[in-house]
């Protein structure tokens, strides 16, 4: 029942958005090449679905996203677990991290293209960077604030490294880092599109540039809709996974 209600809310909300779009379209007199109607955009969407172009681009984007995001989260969590246990080391690393963190990953783009050439790598690196720092920092701080009783219990029962890491520390901090892993998904998705606007010849981000170059505002809008939809789906998939995992964890705090 709750689920049905939320589906109803989503449908109403999306209809409202389409309404606003149609309203602006009828009210203003941009040419259709500059501002297409919802109908024209859905026409372009249907066109790209039927000739299969859309799925090629989605496939390319999803591949880069999966590689960049998953590797970033895994490395950030592992590094965070280790650095969290080594505060003496982390105090020398933290200032550098704080310096690098506020830099938009896009600022590195020229270097990335120069170093790695064009293709999949630039977008993957951009996604990697965008997810990396938030997950790293939240993991370190979660490990730092771990309840000391867990360490005492581990010692009392003779649990040593490395078991203590995956048997006790990781599960103990997981509920706290799950949230940052979730937030990083959204950030990484935002930067996927940016990352694909240069250095590639495929993907949903490339499609933005391609549509602009061909003066196809309808394709551009269709692309934007797809980007939004996939972002929404990824987010809700992760939300569901997060809930399931936290349930297995014995319920969230």
């Amino acid at each position: 029942m709750k689920k049905l209600l939320s589906i109803k809310n989503i449908i109403i909300s999306l209809l409202l958005l389409l309404g606003v779009w149609q309203f602006i379209y009828t009210l203003t007199d941009f040419s259709d090449a500059l501002f297409p109607s919802p109908l024209q955009a859905f026409g372009a969407l249907a066109e790209m679905v039927s000739n299969g172009i859309l799925f090629t681009h989605i496939g390319a984007s999803m591949y880069r996203f999966a590689v960049g995001y998953v590797s970033s989260v895994i490395i950030a969590v592992l590094l965070g677990l280790v650095l969290g246990r080594l505060p003496k080391v982390f105090q020398y690393i933290n200032p550098a991290v704080q310096l690098l963190r506020p830099i938009s990953p896009m600022a590195w783009m020229p270097f990335i293209v120069l170093w790695f050439g064009i293709g999949n790598i630039p977008a993957i690196v951009i996604i990697f960077i965008s997810a990396f720092f938030p997950v790293l920092l939240s993991t370190v701080s979660a490990v730092n604030s771990i309840d000391p009783i867990y360490m005492k219990v581990s010692k009392s029962f003779g649990i040593k490294q490395p078991q203590i890491m995956w048997k006790v520390i990781f599960p103990a901090v997981f509920p706290q880092i799950a949230n940052s892993i979730h937030l990083a998904l959204g950030t990484a998705w935002v930067f996927l599109v940016a990352g694909e606007m240069t250095g590639t010849q495929s993907g949903l981000g490339y499609l933005v540039i391609d549509a602009r170059n061909n003066l196809r505002a309808d394709i551009l809008f269709a692309d934007i809709i797809v980007i939004g939809l996939i972002g929404l789906i990824l987010d809700s998939l992760l939300k569901t996974a997060e809930k399931q995992i936290l349930k297995a964890w014995g319920g969230a705090d």
Binding site: K152, V153, K155, F157, Q163, K167, P171
Partner: protein
């Protein structure tokens, strides 16, 4: 002697200042004894227990168990904490198996041992539950089962029933007393509850604060079956009150 504490002291250094948590503590404990460390909060009970358990060794004097100086926690001894220290992401069953996992005991064997102790603490119907689904008293039972499962020589307990309501606390005191008789473990229990100490202990180590030290060691002249309302029990309790100078002889009106 099994546990030998000689002139032990513990000082903390904070902001360049030295603070003495306890000093001049000497105490000998025999195997199988039930010892209660009793005293007001801040008298160094937990610090002394932590030193005996090896979490934070003493800074002067020595603590020896079985002839060996205590430097770090030993797998032969386990500690039960006031806030249980259960791993919330593990079921009751998996929590009880925790200590067995590092002993390279095969899976089936672990299950059997865990089942035995879960049954002993009366939680067989909750094996698959997570700690959060249990009451405080039940959680502490899980942690008792987890401690017993590794068949320790010594069980250290730091105010294990301090967070429980009075009735649950008495129920658990009954259980721990009967378990201690059955399993013949050496148990060192920290408490600030006089009745608890009188109910459980073979000997009560009475501590005072500023600086923490032993004021008295009282052998409890009661048998293994104890009644909280029996005359001899109340006599011992009165004696402890007296030792704390908390018994007022003057005009106190009793309305019963």
């Amino acid at each position: 002697m099994y546990i030998e504490i000689e002139n032990a002291g513990k000082a903390f250094f904070q902001n360049g200042r030295e603070f003495t948590a306890f000093t001049d503590v000497s105490l000998s404990i025999e195997k199988g004894e039930f010892i209660c460390l009793l005293g007001p909060s801040g008298c160094g009970k937990s610090t002394l227990l932590n030193a005996m358990a090896g979490f934070a060794p003493v800074t002067s004097g020595s603590i020896k168990i079985d002839g060996k100086e205590v430097k770090e926690p030993s797998v032969k001894n386990v500690t039960i904490f006031q806030n249980y220290g259960l791993l919330p992401w593990r079921t009751v069953q998996k929590n009880v198996e925790l200590g067995l996992e590092s002993q390279k005991i095969p899976k089936d064997e672990r299950r059997k041992i865990a089942d035995k102790y879960i049954e002993m603490v009366g939680l067989s119907d909750f094996k698959k539950s997570h700690p959060r689904q249990l009451s405080g008293g039940m959680q502490q039972r899980v942690s008792i089962a987890r401690a017993l499962a590794v068949n320790p020589d010594i069980i250290f307990m730091d105010e294990p029933f301090g967070a429980l309501d009075a009735i649950t606390r008495m129920k658990l005191q009954d259980d721990i007393l009967s378990i201690s008789r059955k399993e013949k473990k050496t148990i060192i229990l920290v408490t600030h509850d006089i009745e608890e100490a009188v109910f459980l202990a073979d000997r009560i180590v009475i501590m005072t604060a500023n600086p923490g030290k032993i004021k008295n060691i009282l052998t409890v002249p009661l048998r293994s079956h104890r009644e909280r309302t029996a005359g001899d029990f109340l006599q011992v309790r009165d004696k402890v009150f007296e030792l704390f100078n908390m018994k007022h002889e003057e005009n106190i009106e009793y309305i019963i």
